[in-house]
């Protein structure tokens, strides 16, 4: 079970991040990246704090958060596994890799395992197109996925 911080705590930690970054030109994306790094997602309670500090409406902040695929509304699992599903990986059988991983992990794309071990996400290109099919596990890149590597990944996220 992942503990959620109380809303006052979210507000104060958000305020610190905003304070640090609001001097940048166009600070909203860096702020949101900072918040997601801090909390693992962008909590609703952070939005009014950002809106007030940047003198924009809460709706505007919400609009930006929901536009970008990276910002999560809920915390991810302990591991995040991104599986490339773009054309170069398709040409090397990424469909089959996805099907196998989904079966091994018991979850689909955009889902988190019930034990909170892993979140599985599709990604459209990791720039590893000459070593397809590829994936990224917690920021580490993996190329030329095969059955052996999939088993290693599954073992790692479950350990």
């Amino acid at each position: 079970m992942i503990m959620q911080p109380a809303s006052t705590e979210i507000a104060s930690r958000t305020a610190a991040i905003v304070q640090e970054l609001k001097g940048l030109e166009g600070p909203l994306l860096p702020i949101l990246h900072g918040i997601q790094e801090e909390f693992g997602h962008v909590p609703q309670d952070a939005l009014p704090v950002i809106a007030e500090a940047l003198n924009i409406s809460k709706a505007e902040v919400h609009g930006v958060v929901t536009f970008y695929h990276d910002y999560r509304s809920h915390p991810a699992g302990r591991h995040v596994l991104k599986l490339c599903q773009a054309e170069a990986c398709q040409s090397m059988g990424s469909d089959a890799v996805a099907a196998k991983l989904k079966q091994l992990l018991g979850i689909g794309f955009h889902e988190t395992a019930r034990d909170g071990s892993v979140t599985l996400e599709p990604v459209y290109c990791l720039g590893l197109c000459a070593c397809a099919p590829s994936a990224m596990l917690d920021g580490e890149v993996i190329g030329r996925l095969d059955d052996e590597k999939l088993d290693e990944i599954v073992a790692e996220v479950r350990s």
Partner: protein, 518 residues
């Protein structure tokens, strides 16, 4: 002399186990009590040989690859520190056929030097372009870039010098240089390789752009899927600042220029220049209508040069060796070199920088060596998810902006994905529409709605519901998307869809009942 061992820190090499190889080498060095320096260089781009380890010997560098961690011990046993023979021995890296056949101008240093060493950078010809640039008038720099014939390597192919001239001629209290490093197209990794393997060349290119146009601030907008490139660029910018390459007096000249690294948030459409500008400003990455051109009203409403990584990274060599030198390469209106990225189901995948003009067939068959699976090549997609699928019958098309346009295709960012005969082109056409639907910014109707209707209509073809009528409908829809969309996402999605339909019509015929489509 302390031995020097090169183990790439490039993402592609890391994805194939370079980190484990580096650790194994360190351990072996410690066990044997050998003193040596491990340099984490970029990749030379021959990914079928990665992880490719190199050692500096008295007779020059010797490469070994692809090296597995378990083979490191035997490398030492074979005396690899002095170039000894081993089954992974490749000899001098620049003699490896895949690399020897290239013309490396933009990627001259990539994979050769320590990416974070300015001394290495300078020793290999770095900073000469910027030194020349600060010594002449801005209009003269713009003239040279224009005369070189350099066109936007991001995909649009717009002449770089003309863009710069517009910014130079527009008066404003502040101007910006924005580098588009939101390299989202599948099959492309040239931007990533430069940022990870030779980051100073991009910084130098941006500084030259700043000096040429009077812009004092630069941003590099890098996609979040490239964490290693982001980290490398941040370190390189800091080093450049310390060395006086960036700051109030670029290389001691009266020109001020500084830059910041910004990270995207997973939106493909932010690779479109106006959408990227909105994203940098902290807004939804929605496309802007043009005019006004970004060169007149760009970032925060100020005149802005927005160029792709490779365009900017090609400027230093132009300013160093001259416009005529660069222009001498290439064909027709496509001048200079282009880093072709050979990817997907291909035997020898990697980055191949060459003058424009090679045929598609030479690239796929001679350089790429056909498919990795050994099956016949069925189709190649050129230019990423918005590029057309080419059948073998069009393999005589030369790699040139105009020649590809004449065949209803595009070069884009020069990525090529090879597919073998197991590819289902109806599925690929459907994916093109689906991808457009997922990534549409939603501003214009043809892209937002058209892509979803496109998926539905192609699904009907797959189910055999009046296929001829549906193909007519998709063709009409593609026409609307092509001419009615605000940007290239909706406007170019028809390329993969229509090329699949036109060149691979058999895949769109109703499947026999026994093997009905998924």
């Amino acid at each position: 002399m302390i031995a020097r061992i090169y183990v790439p820190g490039d993402s592609g090499a890391l994805a194939l186990g370079a980190e484990k190889v580096a650790i194994a080498i360190e351990k072996e060095l410690a066990d044997r009590g050998i003193e040596a320096k491990i340099v984490r260089n970029g990749s030379r781009g021959a990914y079928f040989l990665e992880p490719m380890v190199e050692v500096a010997t008295e007779k020059g560098r010797v490469a070994y690859g692809p090296v597995q961690p378990s083979e490191v011990k035997s490398l030492f046993d074979s005396g690899f520190l002095t170039g000894g023979h081993h089954k992974r021995w490749l000899g001098a890296p620049d003699k490896i056929p895949f690399l020897a056949r290239q013309t490396r101008l933009t990627f001259a240093r990539c994979g050769v030097i320590n990416p974070l060493s300015l001394d290495h950078y300078k020793a290999h010809g770095g900073l000469k372009g910027l030194q020349n640039a600060v010594a002449i008038a801005p209009a003269e720099i713009v003239k040279q870039v224009t005369e070189s014939g350099l066109r936007g390597r991001g995909g649009a192919g717009f002449p770089t010098g003309i863009k710069w001239k517009t910014v130079l001629d527009t008066t404003a209290d502040k101007k910006y240089i924005v580098c588009n490093a939101d390299e989202g197209d599948s099959a492309t990794f040239a931007d990533r390789m430069i940022m990870e393997g030779d980051p100073f060349v991009l910084i130098e290119g941006m500084a030259i752009a700043g000096v040429a146009t009077g812009a004092t601030k630069g941003f590099v907008y890098i996609r979040s899927e490239y964490p290693h490139a982001v980290a490398m660029m941040q370190k390189a910018v800091e080093a450049a600042r310390k060395a006086g390459l960036l700051g109030l007096n670029v290389l001691g000249s009266p020109n001020a220029f500084d830059m910041e690294i910004r990270v995207g948030a997973g939106a493909y459409v932010c690779g479109e220049e106006t959408s990227l500008l909105n994203s940098l400003e902290g807004k939804r990455g929605v496309v802007r209508a043009k005019p006004p051109l970004p060169a007149i009203q760009g970032l925060f409403g100020k005149p802005t040069v927005i160029n792709n990584v490779i365009s900017l990274a090609s400027v230093p060599v132009i300013m160093d060796k001259g416009a005529a030198f660069y222009k001498d390469f290439g064909m027709g209106r496509s001048r200079g070199t282009i880093p072709i990225q050979i990817a997907g189901n291909v035997r020898y995948g990697g980055l191949f920088e060459a003058a424009f003009g090679m045929t598609l067939g030479e690239i796929v068959d001679d350089i790429g060596g056909g498919t990795a699976t050994g099956r016949p090549v069925k189709a190649v997609q050129v230019g990423g998810p918005l590029g057309a699928y080419f059948p073998r019958s069009l393999f005589d098309t030369p790699f040139d902006y105009e020649a590809f346009a004449a065949k209803d295709g595009l070069i884009g960012h020069a990525g090529i994905t090879v597919f073998d005969d197991s590819a289902d082109m109806l599925k690929q056409a459907r994916f093109a529409m689906e991808f457009c639907a997922i990534e549409s910014c939603g501003k214009c109707t043809p892209c937002r709605i058209g892509s979803t209707r496109g998926v539905e209509t192609i699904d009907k073809i797959a189910r055999g519901i009046e296929p001829e009528k549906q193909i007519e409908l998709v063709t009409d829809l593609c026409n609307t998307m092509k001419f009615g969309s605000l940007c290239a996402l909706g406007g170019f999605t028809p390329y993969p869809v229509m090329s699949a339909i036109n060149h691979f019509r058999d895949d769109f015929k109703p499947a026999p009942v026994a093997e009905a489509a998924e």
